[in-house]
Structure formats: structure tokens, C-alpha cells
Amino acid sequence: MTWLVFTVLSGIIVGGGLGVVTTRNVVHAALFLLVSLIGVAGFYVLLLSEFLAVVQIFIYVGAIVIVLLFGIMLTRSGEYPRIADNEQWPAAVLMGLGFFALLALALLTHPNLSDERNEINLSILGESLFTDWALPFEIASILLLIALVGAVVLAREDKKS
């Protein structure tokens, strides 16, 4: 049963990813990305961290992909859906395969065969986030603020134009 779920989810993730990088249509790519990200959320459930799965859906699916679609709209990429890949794509294929081969080789040489998944206690997670990880948490919030301000500054219309 778990195997079946794992296989299906892997197919969704990898297939979605391949869809993102192969389709010529930008909007389709965004939708493929959506599929892949939902698959990743499924993985999180499989790894017994439902909280992260929810976060994944909320932020990635609910926010990031939407923002990307806004970007496509605002840059009118949707009107020219067919942007061809660049001339080095064969080399990129080789490179990607090579990288995967290298990683797989590394992972499979001494495979880690632990099979005991642990459930994540949400209250411990929350406590640790606000005690041990309080400083990174605050820094992350500042980072978000800066990114927000920077994005506004960069994206707004120039006054003179």
C-alpha cells in the first residue's frame, strides 16, 4: 500500500517536474509545477509531517504559483507561449543526466536503509521553533519584510515615465 502511494507520488513529482522543463507553454509549465508541488506535499504526508504538507499547499500552491502566474500575466508571456529552449539544451540534458547519475551513484554506493519513519510532534516543533530557533525565525521575518519592500520598490512604476 505504502509502496503504491510512494510510486504514484514519485511519478507525479518527477512527471510534473519533467513537464515544467519540457513544455513550451509557460502557463502549462506553471500548472505542471503545481502538480509537482502537490506531489511533494503528498511526500510530506508520507513522511508523517502533515503540518509541512499543509504549509506546502498553502505557500507553494496557494501563493508562489499564483505569484508566478501573475508574473506571466504581467510580462505578457502568456501571449507568446512558445519560447523555444536555448541552443545548448542537448548539453543541458547531458549535464542533468550526468548530475543525476553522480548523485544516484553516490547515494546507492552506501545506501542508507533506515526504514523507521517518525511522527513529528507539532507541539514540540512549535516549541523548538520559538525557543531554540527563535533567532533564525526573527531573521527570516526580517528577510521577508526586506524582500517585500524591495519587491515594491523594484516593481513600481517610475514616477517620470
Binding site: F6, I13, V14, G17, V20, V21, V26, A29, A30, L33, S36, L37, V40, F43, L47, S49, L52, V55, Q56, Y60, A63, I64, L68, G71, I72, L74, T75, S77, I83, A84, N86, Q88, W89, M95, G96, L97, F99, F100, L103, L107, L108, N112, L113, S114, D115, E116, N118, I120, L125, S128, A140, L143, L144, A147, L148, G150, A151, V152, L154, A155
Partner: protein, 102 residues
């Protein structure tokens, strides 16, 4: 049984796909999407390791939370940059962004 290495292989595959996307795509937005794929691959890896090997502290999960946060910020900023480029050059094709030479 499903072991850690299975997740890691899927993660590696997703990462390589994202890498290919970064190297082969022309549109800035598509490149951004590929980067998101790579980030997710890393997240899978982190969560898997946390779940299998680190039952007490879940450092991987917390880092994943941060990665998602940063990814959100990154997408916001990157799209702002793409918009600015589009406004200045009327294209988001990275072929045309080749001032960085000579």
C-alpha cells in the same frame, strides 16, 4: 520497505530536472520555476532525513520551513526583478540580457 534512499533518489531526480530547466530554458519565469523545483527537491531530502534519522529535534523540518519562507521571499523579489527587466527591455528572454560581457 520504503527506505531513506528511495526518497533521496526521487529528490535527486527532481533536483536534476530543475537543474536542466535552469540550463536549458530561455524565459526568466521558466527558470524561476525550475529553481522552485530544485528547492523542493532539497526540501524532500531534508524532511526525509529528519523523519528517518532525527526523531527528537526535527532540525530538517524547521530548516524546510525556513526554506519555504525564503523561497516565498525569493519568488517575490525575482518576479519584481523580472517585471523591471520587462519594463526596461520589453522582453524576459535571458538571451537579451547579455550586458555582462567584455
Amino acid at each position: 520497505m520504503i527506505t531513506l534512499v528511495h526518497f533521496q533518489i526521487v529528490s535527486a531526480a527532481l533536483f536534476s530536472i530543475g537543474l536542466y530547466g535552469v540550463m536549458a530554458r530561455r524565459s526568466a519565469i521558466l527558470i524561476l520555476m525550475s529553481i522552485e523545483l530544485m528547492l523542493n527537491a532539497v526540501n524532500i531530502n531534508l524532511v526525509a532525513v529528519a523523519s528517518f534519522l532525527d526523531p527528537d529535534r526535527f532540525a530538517g523540518i524547521i530548516i524546510t520551513i525556513f526554506v519555504i519562507t525564503v523561497a516565498a521571499a525569493e519568488v517575490g523579489l525575482a518576479l519584481a526583478i523580472v517585471l523591471r527587466l520587462f519594463r526596461n527591455r520589453a522582453t524576459i528572454n535571458v538571451d537579451n540580457m547579455d550586458l555582462m560581457k567584455w
